[in-house]
């Protein structure tokens, strides 16, 4: 039997600048119109991408707005969304990043460090790959599964 995988890909490149985050969210919100997902799911996906890119901008690129981030969205069979986030900054593997649990934030509130635990809470799968080292290229892939 011939099994056909239906896939659709779109991508956007942004500058490493927090003012670009809104353009990225608008891009995905527009892409999401093709998907049968709830408004809340769109919010959670936008939030995960936003947190990852905010971290890249601030930490890997140290707010250097000449640097770029490429984000690729692939929807497969209407129930799997793969998002690939490519950067050329200092490698940072969020999976290995030992995050204090969120409870710690409740008992001792502090400003930073909430983004990665939040991403881990929202995504179904996350993988990190260093593609090359000279020049540096990194890929963070996150997946969301819909019913």
């Amino acid at each position: 039997m011939d099994i056909k995988v239906k896939s659709h890909i779109e991508s956007i490149e942004i500058a490493s600048d927090t003012k670009e985050l809104i353009r990225l969210r608008d891009f995905f919100s527009n892409f999401a119109k093709k998907l049968k997902i709830s408004e809340e799911m769109v919010f959670h996906i936008n939030l995960a991408i936003d947190e990852i890119c905010s971290n890249l901008i601030k930490h890997s690129y140290k707010d250097d707005s000449t640097k770029r981030i490429l984000v690729e969205f692939e929807i497969i069979n209407n129930n799997l969304l793969k998002i690939k986030i490519y950067d050329e900054g200092e490698p940072f593997n969020p999976i290995k990043f030992n995050t204090p649990d969120l409870h710690n934030h409740i008992t001792h509130p502090h400003k930073g460090g909430l983004g990665i635990p939040l991403v881990k809470l929202l995504v179904n799968k996350m993988t990190y790959t260093i593609l090359s080292q000279n020049p540096q290229r990194n890929l963070l892939e996150i997946e969301f599964i819909f019913n």
Binding site: T18, E39, E51, L102, I106, P109, K111, G112, L114, G115
Partner: protein, 116 residues
């Protein structure tokens, strides 16, 4: 797109309780504006702060990090940050993160005043 502010804060310092009405998108780009507004309130010696979320469409960790940054200092001064009128998406996010334990959250201004 340009011309429409992505984020805005309407500040009311006239009463004993400060009202900050946050509007639009609160992310890593706009969070410093909220930081300034909270600092302004504290500099005025006003530590009882109510944040109205009714017109807030989006918040990321940079946004709620600002509340985390000041909450302990504000409570040490016998003040508090209370939150009202969150949309269901943002309210659900606060619940997921356990922030509903950390902050008093009310459906609207009437419910807040009834509890004061």
């Amino acid at each position: 797109m340009d011309g429409i502010p992505k984020f805005q804060i309407l500040k009311d310092f006239s009463e004993e309780q400060v009202f900050l009405n946050i509007i639009g998108y609160l992310d890593a780009h706009t969070a410093p504006e909220l930081e300034l507004a909270l600092k302004e309130s504290m500099e005025k010696g006003k530590y009882n702060i109510v944040v109205d979320f009714e017109k807030l469409d989006y918040i990321s960790s940079a946004g709620f990090g600002v509340f985390m940054e000041f909450i302990e200092e504000i409570r040490q001064k016998n003040g508090d940050i209370k939150m009202i009128a969150m949309n269901s998406k943002i309210r659900h996010l606060f619940n997921i993160l356990g922030f509903d334990v950390l902050f008093e959250i009310y459906n609207d201004k009437n419910q807040l005043l009834g509890n004061n």
